[in-house]
Each structure stands twice: as structure tokens, then as C-alpha cells.
């Protein structure tokens, strides 16, 4: 059994989880569908695709401009080549100010295992996005890029939060949310450091853009004395005008809203005459393999703006959820991104973890040709890490089926193989992988 097979089997055998992932990804997809009908979304996608391609093509120069403007605004910029580098920098900044951190959603921080490493350094980190708070309390990883607790039922959330409350809460979402809100509020007021992700960086102004619905990101970036933002190096747009195209693409694709409840534009630390805001703002720009990917045929995967739409429409993600993909990102984007960013982790099978249905291509707000990239990964794997048995199988197949008489012989013979129930096909390699759950009805 491969890793993906093992992890997806575990997911498939959890009916509550299966039901929740199916229901909520479907709902998110339907919300997206409803919201893109009211505007010329296809034109917007084309424009978004162009802007992302230009930004990634021009990335080194754009990053320099971005950094200059950030520094002019008083932001301390650290470019981290690796996850370890980013963790070391962030840990250093945090420990200079205290040992408590409130944190907003950030997939980049998941990539580098930031929470575990900060905790190992004696820092108390609290996730403040409700979904992230739930999965952190459960000791799990986010199951979806923008809906981290997509797999959790109300009852499960209640079971997680009641021990923290020390009293019954019930499973009304309003009560559960009210508890989380009160619980987190104390921490917002106490923590000296807030860490957030970044949805977009605007190069021409040195602005950090945070998109969210709960206000926790604004709290994390505005309330503590120190704000540390962490951003994947490719999440840049050139201008504010470009942002005006990409924001609706992100939001409508992600949640189906016209705009989220909060869109924060962080311009830097508090200035002399301002009443609030952090005294220090740090931005960690994370490479972690991105420069390498940028030089390959897979560059377009860096156009991704992390909306989660490909996960919501994916018929495979729908069955197995995000953690089955073995790393941080699930669904089609994870199947492409993971083998590229983490080639050393034996996760290159993920290119296979798709039926190549191409539904993801049709929803991607920036038109990343995901299924073409998946095919590319399969071709890479065929020449690098595919096992000898698989190579031999395809070699044998192509030897036989490039000869009409052998093709005829084998297909005519196959007409006599009806499968009804598991035996006796269960004794034939490969055929048994079909026959365990499915018959074959020959229409002779």
C-alpha cells in the first residue's frame, strides 16, 4: 500500500469525517458558482492569470521593489531561503519580546512547522482563526486551505472546546463561537507578539494584504506590540490596481462572497502620531523551494493564490480530505505543489492521486493548468522513481499492443472474462484491485 492509499483508506473509514468534507466542500463550491455568475468572471480569470504570470516572471525585481518600499515604511524584512531559516528568525524575534503568541491563519507557517518549533522553544502559540483554533486544539493539521476544520462536526467541536471551558457549552455554533471568542480575547490582549500570514503583498506600496472573515487577523496584526507576517515569496502583485483584480478572484473563488468581512492593508508599524498599531512589524519572505520550482516547467503552480476552489470541486479531495495528501496542501494544488516543494519526502506519488477529471482547471481563478501539471509530474515519475514492475508492465503492454495480431488476441480473450464477485479474479495481480469492489460485465 502506498502512503496516499493508506491515508485515504483511513479517511474513507471515518463516516463523520467523510460526510463533513463532502458536505462543506460542496457547499463552498456551490457558493463560488453562485457568486461568479453575476459578473464576467471568465474575463476576470483571464486578467488574473495574466497578472500572476507577469508577477512571477518578474519576481526578483518585484521582490526588490517590495522590500525597498517595506523598509521605507518601517517594516523589517527577512528573506528566508529555507523553513529552518524562517523559523530561527521568527523564534528570535518572539523571544526578544516574550513567550506568548497569537496567530492568524497561514499556510506558509504550516509548511515550516512553525507552531511546533515555537512551542519547542518554550513559546505558547494560540491559533485564533476559529477553524485553526479547533484543529490546533485537536492536535491536528488544517484539512483545507481556507476551511481548516472542514472535517469536524459540531459535536466534535463541542467535545474539543468543553474541556477548555470547564463547563458545558452545548453544540449550538453560536455558543461554541462565543466561547472561542471570549477565550481568545484574553490572549489577544495579553500576547506581545502576533503572527499572521499574507494573502498578497503589493510591491509598489510595500503593503501587506490580509483577507479574512473573523477579524482575528486584524487583531493579530494590530493589537500586539509586535507583528510578524510570513509570506510565500510568490504572493506578490505589482500594483494596487492589480490587487483590485486579484482580490475578487480570491474571495469569490474561496468563499463565494463579494468581499470578506475584513480586508486589512498593513502599511507598517505605528507612526508617531498614531494612537494604535504595533511598534514593530517584521515580514518574513519564505522561499522554501519556490525559486527552484520557478526555474522548472511547473512555474505556473506559483501563480496560485490559495483560494481552495480546486479542493472544493475535486472529486478525490471530496472523499479523502486534505491530510491524505501527506503534507500541508490537499486537493489538486497539493498534488502538484507537494512533490515540487518537497521532493525529498517520497510524496511524488501524489501526481497519480487524481482521476485527471480536470474540474480543477475550470475553477482555478488564475487558470493554472493543474491537470496538465499532474500529467507532467507523472511523466517525471515514470523516468525517475517508478518501480521496475510498473515499467515492465507498460513495456510489455506496448510491445503487445503495437502489434495488431497480439492486440486482437488479447482483447478477444478479455471478452471471456466476466467478473462476478471477488473470486477467482482475486488471485490475479492488478485484476484483484478492480475485483475487490467492482464486477465487470462484458457486453458481448
Amino acid at each position: 500500500m502506498t502512503g496516499f492509499e493508506r491515508r485515504s483508506a483511513a479517511a474513507l473509514h471515518d463516516p463523520v469525517r467523510l460526510q463533513n468534507v463532502r458536505r462543506f466542500s460542496e457547499r463552498a463550491h456551490d457558493n463560488r458558482t453562485a457568486s461568479v455568475g453575476s459578473i464576467d468572471f471568465e474575463a476576470l480569470r483571464t486578467e488574473g492569470a495574466r497578472l500572476r504570470a507577469e508577477a512571477v516572471a518578474d519576481l526578483p525585481a518585484l521582490l526588490d521593489r517590495f522590500q525597498r518600499n517595506l523598509e521605507q515604511n518601517g517594516v523589517v524584512v527577512h528573506r528566508a531561503a529555507t523553513g529552518a531559516d524562517a523559523v530561527a528568525y521568527i523564534t528570535g524575534v518572539v523571544l526578544r519580546h516574550g513567550t506568548e503568541v497569537v496567530k492568524g491563519k497561514s499556510m506558509a507557517s504550516e509548511e515550516i512547522g512553525l507552531n511546533e518549533r515555537l512551542q519547542a522553544a518554550g513559546v505558547d502559540v494560540t491559533e485564533t482563526d476559529l477553524g485553526e483554533f479547533i484543529v490546533q486544539t485537536a492536535g491536528e493539521a488544517p484539512e483545507h486551505i481556507i476551511i481548516p476544520a472542514i472535517h469536524k462536526s459540531r459535536a466534535a467541536v463541542r467535545a474539543l472546546l468543553e474541556p477548555l471551558a470547564g463547563e458545558p457549552i452545548g453544540d449550538d455554533p453560536a455558543d461554541l463561537t462565543a466561547f472561542a471568542r471570549a477565550h481568545l480575547r484574553e490572549r489577544f490582549l495579553r500576547a506581545p507578539v502576533g503572527i499572521t500570514g499574507v494573502n498578497f503583498g503589493v510591491a509598489e506600496t510595500g503593503t501587506l494584504v490580509l483577507v479574512e472573515n473573523e477579524g482575528n487577523g486584524r487583531m493579530c496584526s494590530g493589537l500586539p506590540r509586535v507583528h510578524i507576517a510570513i509570506m510565500g515569496m510568490e504572493r506578490l502583485v505589482a500594483t494596487m490596481a492589480d490587487l483590485a483584480t486579484l482580490l475578487p478572484l480570491l474571495i469569490r473563488s474561496g468563499t463565494g462572497q463579494k468581499i470578506t468581512s475584513y480586508v486589512s492593508l498593513v502599511g507598517g508599524p505605528r507612526r508617531g502620531d498614531e494612537a494604535d498599531g504595533p511598534e514593530e512589524v517584521h515580514l518574513v519572505i519564505l522561499d522554501n523551494g519556490r525559486s527552484r520550482v520557478r526555474e522548472t516547467a511547473y512555474r505556473s503552480v506559483l501563480h496560485c493564490i490559495r483560494c481552495g476552489a480546486c479542493q472544493n470541486v475535486c472529486p478525490v479531495y471530496r472523499q479523502v480530505g486534505g491530510t491524505a495528501y501527506g503534507w500541508v496542501y490537499g486537493g489538486p494544488i497539493g498534488a502538484v505543489l507537494t512533490p515540487l516543494l518537497h521532493p525529498q519526502d517520497g510524496l511524488d506519488e501524489l501526481g497519480q492521486a487524481s482521476s485527471l477529471c480536470a474540474a480543477c482547471d475550470d475553477v482555478c481563478p488564475v487558470r493554472i493548468p493543474l491537470h496538465e501539471l499532474l500529467l507532467g509530474l507523472r511523466r517525471d515519475r515514470a523516468v525517475t522513481s517508478a518501480g521496475w514492475l510498473e515499467r515492465l508492465a507498460f513495456r510489455t503492454w506496448s510491445t503487445a499492443w503495437s502489434r495488431p495480431w497480439l492486440y486482437r488476441l488479447t482483447t478477444r480473450a478479455a471478452r471471456h472474462v466476466n467478473i462476478r464477485g471477488q473470486a477467482p479474479a482475486m488471485h490475479v495481480p492488478l485484476l484483484k484491485r478492480w475485483a475487490r469492489t467492482r464486477d465487470v460485465r462484458v457486453k458481448r
Binding site: 485515504s8 472529486p315 497519480q352 480536470a358 474540474a359 475550470d362 467492482r438
Partner: protein, 239 residues
Amino acid sequence: MPAMIGLFPTCLGDAVHPQVVRDAERVLRAAGVETAPIPRATCCGQPAWNSGFAADARRVARQTLRAMAGLDAIVVPSGSCTAMMRLHWRHLFHGDRDQALAERTSSRVFELSQYLVDEVGAEALGTPLGRTVTYHDSCHMLRELRLAEQPRKLLRAVADLRELPRGDRCCGFGGTFSVRYPDVATAMADDKLASAAASGAETVVSADPGCIMHVEGRAARIGADVRVVHLASILAEAL
């Protein structure tokens, strides 16, 4: 000189659904199109291409490509194989000695309903069967070839067509995917069968033998009360 039109049976047509190929031939004849078999053609190469084994895919596809030389049109009772030949052969034979032949041939390959509706203009074949059917869009036919209306037009002429809820969602076949990850593929087929039951139709029609083999095979295993048939077969039945 009359046009030479080949009927490409596909490997699943040859190995599992030969009846579908005969049905396609009958339906085409009823539309005034005489087709001929393509004696030396084998498979389009898709199983290896989709698994990343491009050289093996090319080896098999070359045999089929050359066997098709000289034909004016090739009709295929499979959206997926059509997409392979119409769209992917260009990449498969890019820079190859058969590149020109592949490009010429690609544009002559038509999926069955595409050929009937778009090329022949035969939108209504057969008489109403008085049955309720629903249509499953196969992924490659819908999202690579963008063929959605053609099969529906043909179906409306012979049956009461109801839309399948989430009819555009993959059934889980995916070629080798179905044996690489059988449990995930099976869960996807179960999703499809649940949609079919919700549609209220007694018959699910598809234009792809792969989807049919998968969904029908799962339905048979769990005893689901639904027929899964190829578009060619239901059209032939209505002739």
C-alpha cells in the same frame, strides 16, 4: 470518390463492450454514414500516456495513427479516446517523425455524438422509447472536448431526459487511477450511483466505455437498481 470513414472501436470496446461498437455502427448507418473497421488499429495509447509512460504510449499510438492514414474521418464511441487523439496526440508526437501525420489525423477524429450532430446534422435518430434516462458527462468529453449538448440532443429524441445531479462530477474511473486507488475510485462510483438514484431515472447513459465499465461494475457488485448503458446502445435500441 466517397469519403472513407473509419469506426475506431477503442480497446475497451474491443475487450469489454463489443456490442457497443456494433450499436455505434448501426446508429451511424441509420444516419446515412457507412463506416469501415480500421483493421490494423489497436489503442490510442491513453493508458500509458496518462500514467506518464510517454514512450510506451507513442509506440502503441503510432500503430493506430498509421492505420488511420487515408481515412477522411474517424468516429469513436468514447469521449476519452477522442480527446486523447484530438488533443493529446499533438503533444505525444511533437517533434516526432509522425508529427505531421498526427496533426492531420487529430482533426479528423470525432466522438460519436459530435460526428452525428455537428458533422452529419442528425439530431433526432430513432423513435421515443418511453423511458426515463439521465446522462453522465464524462470528464474528458465535457472538459477537454467541451461536448455537452450533442449527446443530450440525441437522447431527448428517444427518451425523457432528466439531468443527473452533479452530472459533471467524475465517476472515479480515471483509467489506471481505478486500480491504483481502488477504494477512492469506488467511493467516487458510489457518489455517482447516489446521484443516479436521486435523478429518478432508470437508466444512466454515458458516451464513455470506461465510465460505464466502472459505474456499472460497482452497481452490479452492490446490487444497485440502475442500468448503465452507452449512448450508442440506447440510440440503436430506438431505431
